[in-house]
Every structure is written in structure tokens, then in C-alpha cells.
């Protein structure tokens, strides 16, 4: 058998972000995949040490363009635990709403990109049209579509008025009804043919390779950091979405159900929203080490923060969910998939390379 090598990426029509896979191919079957990353390294972790901790919130926001809310939430929660303060309840609810809105827009974006990778362009157009309404809702609350700048150390920067909450409820109704419009895609023959039984990651493999987020939940692992009850999640009723398909279709199904779960969580937040302060001010010194974990749309986001009592932080380490999901993807690819399925398999774990490399 002649083994040939195909370099897939870093610039590829279906890859939204620069990751390269060097595929060893026998006939049309992939027998080995080697990931290559490092194309968009920006040295943000070093920049964390040079800036003021207050300014670092905006830096953390710019690690990832799709999930700024979890990044800033993880950072401010870490700094808050170093300072020994806690955000007021209303601020926690506003943070939760922003995180869930972020999850909705990220999952819809992903669904569109998957449609694009499969060759279903009109689905891509429809989903991104609905996503635009979610981004509008975010802009009405925070003032910006992509960089929300909502979190502050000790709370949030902007309060939500009753009008904004009512507007958000309307947007959620709209998003729910529009998702029902395109739900039949899940039953579509072509989509099933391209995703079912492709990119298999069994439960043991997912545990061995350390998969996180929807990738792990599609392999039957009930792992969702939101169940640990940080921010307002402790007060809300929800169960992690777990599917036992273990394939690309399962990862699609998990994200689709999580969209509905997020809409439900936002509605619960609107009903239970407490009144009161939104910011706890503090000038406590930052001394010691802190770990902060948040469930981002792609999985577990981890921040390690170390302070030495001075005005600047000594070290900030970020581990993003995509970094944890690269090895499971290699496992999925190396099982003898077709070259044409590589793009769907890689997209099914929702890669975000810009935050992986920082």
C-alpha cells in the first residue's frame, strides 16, 4: 500500500480558522492525522503580566471573538477570588444572561459553518440570519455586537433595565420560533448521510483523550461545569444535555438541544432577576493563586491567575476548550475516515484556534 501525505489547511475553504492537519492517506482513507498549530499566536498571556489587572478584562475579551463573555467571566472570577470579594446577585444574573446569549450565538454560528462544510449554503444563510437577531439583542444590552465589555472586577459595568429584559424575552421568542423553522434539517437524509457514523469518539476514548464540552457530552459523558453552580447557575433548573451517538450527528444534536436549553435558562434568569447593586468595589491586594473554571460554548475554560501583592499579576495561564479537543479530533480522524469527511469531523468539535493559541 502506498501511503501519501496531504496537508489539510491552514488555509482551507471550509476551515474558518488556521489549523493544519497533515494526513497520511492510503487510497482515500486517512490512517494518521497530525495537527499543527501556532499560526495565530499573539502573546496575550505575556501581555496579561504587563497591564493593569483592570485593563486585562478587555484583553481577555479579545482572546476569542466568538466567546468574549466566558473569557472575561473566568478572568474576573479568578481575580475576585484573589481579592476575596464576590459579585452582587444581580451582577451574577446579568453575567449568566450574557454567557447564555453568547452560547446561543456561538452554537448558531457553528450550525451554519457545519452546513457550509457539508455544502448546504442556504442553511448557512438562514442560521446566520437568526444569529444576527441574537447579536442585535447583545448590542442593545451591552452596546457592542462582539466585544461586550460587560464584566468588571466585582460585578458588571452596565445594569439591565426592565425594557431591555422585555426586549430580550421577545428576541428569545423569535429565536425559538425561527429555530423550529429549520429544525427539520436534523431529519434530512443528506445531513444524516454526512454526519451519522462519521467521526466516532467512544466514551472511553473521550475520557482517555480528555474531551470537554459538547464533544464529551455527545459521547455520553455527563460533564457540564454549569452544574457546579457558579454565578447564577446554582439557582436555575437545568440538566446537562447528554447524547450517546458518539458521532458528528451526536455533536450536532447536543448543540441543537443546548440552544433550547440556553433560551430556557435566559427566561429563568429574566423571571428570577434580583434587584440591587451591580458592583462591589474593592482595593484589596491580589496575593496568592486562584483557579477559575467556566463552561464556554465549546467546553471547559480554565484560568490560572497568580498575584504577588503588587499592582500587576505575576502569571495568567489560559487553557481553552479547543486545546483539550484537538487530541480527540486526531483520534476521530485516524480511524480511517474518508478525506472528504475530514472537514466535517474537524468542524464537529467546533475549533476556535485563535483562542487556543492566544
Amino acid at each position: 500500500m502506498v501511503k501519501s501525505t496531504i496537508t489539510f489547511g491552514p488555509q482551507h475553504p471550509v476551515f474558518p480558522e488556521p489549523i493544519q492537519f497533515i494526513l497520511k492517506v492510503v487510497d482515500e482513507k486517512v490512517v494518521l492525522a497530525e495537527p499543527q498549530i501556532g499560526y495565530v499566536h499573539r502573546g496575550i498571556e505575556k501581555a496579561f503580566e504587563l497591564n493593569d489587572p483592570k485593563d486585562n478584562i478587555f484583553l481577555a475579551e479579545r482572546i476569542c471573538g466568538i466567546c468574549p463573555a466566558p473569557h472575561t467571566t473566568a478572568y474576573v472570577r479568578g481575580v475576585e477570588s484573589l481579592m476575596g470579594i464576590e459579585a452582587p446577585p444581580r451582577a451574577k444574573y446579568i453575567r449568566t444572561i450574557m454567557n447564555e446569549l453568547n452560547r446561543i450565538h456561538s452554537h448558531i454560528l457553528w450550525a451554519g459553518l457545519l452546513g457550509d462544510a457539508i455544502g448546504f449554503e442556504s442553511y448557512f444563510m438562514q442560521t446566520w440570519n437568526y444569529r444576527e437577531k441574537v447579536l442585535d439583542a447583545i448590542e442593545k444590552i451591552s452596546g457592542h455586537r462582539v466585544t461586550y465589555a460587560m464584566n468588571a472586577i466585582g460585578g458588571v459595568r452596565r445594569d439591565m433595565t426592565n425594557e431591555q429584559l422585555r426586549g430580550l424575552e421577545k428576541t428569545m421568542d423569535y429565536v425559538e420560533s425561527s429555530l423550529e423553522n429549520i429544525e427539520d434539517v436534523m431529519k434530512d437524509y443528506t445531513i444524516k448521510k454526512r454526519t451519522q457514523g462519521i467521526g466516532i469518539l467512544t466514551e472511553e476514548e473521550a475520557r482517555r483523550d480528555g474531551a470537554v464540552g459538547p464533544t464529551a457530552r455527545a459521547s455520553g459523558i455527563s460533564q457540564d461545569l454549569r452544574t457546579s453552580g457558579y454565578d447564577a447557575y446554582g439557582d436555575l433548573k437545568f440538566e446537562p444535555v447528554v447524547v450517546n451517538n458518539c458521532d458528528s450527528y451526536g455533536r450536532f444534536a447536543v448543540r441543537w438541544q443546548e440552544l433550547k436549553q440556553s433560551i430556557d435558562l435566559i427566561r429563568q434568569c429574566i423571571v428570577k432577576m434580583p434587584s440591587g447593586e451591580i458592583l462591589t468595589k474593592s482595593n484589596n491586594p491580589m496575593n496568592g493563586e486562584a483557579i477559575s473554571r467556566v463552561e464556554a460554548p465549546r467546553g471547559e475554560l480554565f484560568y490560572y491567575i497568580k498575584g504577588n501583592g503588587s499592582k500587576k499579576l505575576e502569571r495568567v495561564k489560559v487553557r481553552t476548550p479547543t486545546f483539550a479537543n484537538i487530541i480527540p479530533t486526531v483520534t476521530m480522524l485516524s480511524k480511517g475516515c474518508q478525506v472528504a469527511d475530514v472537514s466535517v469531523i474537524v468542524l464537529s468539535m467546533d475549533p476556535c484556534i485563535s483562542c487556543t493559541e492566544r
Partner: protein, 122 residues
């Protein structure tokens, strides 16, 4: 087929889904942070708080010449300067900055009013 016909006729009489962007611009939302503006320079006391709090250090305050300058390409539209300003000189405008060919700094100067107005002559 009947479902398809419904969509076809629906689309014939529906409002256009897209906007002819450069000619038709969507009105910005109420509290949108499109760009930063030294809107009320007459109230400025040149306290330097905006420049001190600015995360990307885009603002420079020149107290001697009574001028504030903003580098719009460094500005990240976070709105921290507007929050920090004690005299509410800085406002966040909803409209985004236009694309530009050259990197220019925006300079806002304070117009000094005369303390005594000259008496009217008959």
C-alpha cells in the same frame, strides 16, 4: 410543492431582507458604543483621568495647550473614559467610525471664552 409555492409567493411580497448598506444605514441602538467623542470640551478640566483609565492608552491630555487627542485606531470603544470622566465631557456615539486612508489623531481643543464681554457701544 404547496409548501414551496407558499414560500415563493411569500417572498414576492415580503420586505427586502437585506439593506443597501453604504446608502441605507441602520440607526444605531440607544446605548451603542460606536465611537468615542469629546462632546463637551467646554467643561473639560484636564484632570487626565480618561487617559489614565484608558486600557489601550489611546488618549493624550495636553493641559498646557488645553487640548485632548484621541488615536482612533488604538481606541477599542470600551467606554471606560466616558465612565471615568467627572465632568461628562466624553460621550460614546452610536455611529461607528468611517474607514480611513491615513492614521490621524483626533484633536479636540477647548475654546477659551473671554472672562469679560466688551460693553456694547451705542
Amino acid at each position: 410543492m404547496p409548501g414551496m409555492l407558499k414560500i415563493i409567493f411569500g417572498n414576492l411580497f415580503k420586505k427586502r431582507a437585506t439593506r443597501l448598506y453604504p446608502f441605507e444605514k441602520r440607526a444605531p441602538f440607544e446605548n451603542a458604543r460606536g465611537s468615542m467623542d469629546f462632546a463637551h470640551m467646554e467643561n473639560c478640566i484636564f484632570c487626565n483621568l480618561c487617559a489614565k483609565n484608558c486600557p489601550p492608552k489611546a488618549i493624550t491630555v495636553d493641559r498646557a495647550n488645553k487640548r485632548n487627542a484621541l488615536d482612533p485606531l488604538r481606541c477599542i470603544q470600551c467606554g471606560v473614559c466616558a465612565e471615568a470622566c467627572p465632568k461628562k465631557v466624553i460621550e460614546m456615539r452610536g455611529q461607528y467610525n468611517e474607514p480611513c486612508y491615513a492614521k490621524r489623531t483626533h484633536v479636540a481643543a477647548q475654546v477659551v471664552k473671554c472672562a469679560q464681554t466688551p460693553p456694547e457701544q451705542k
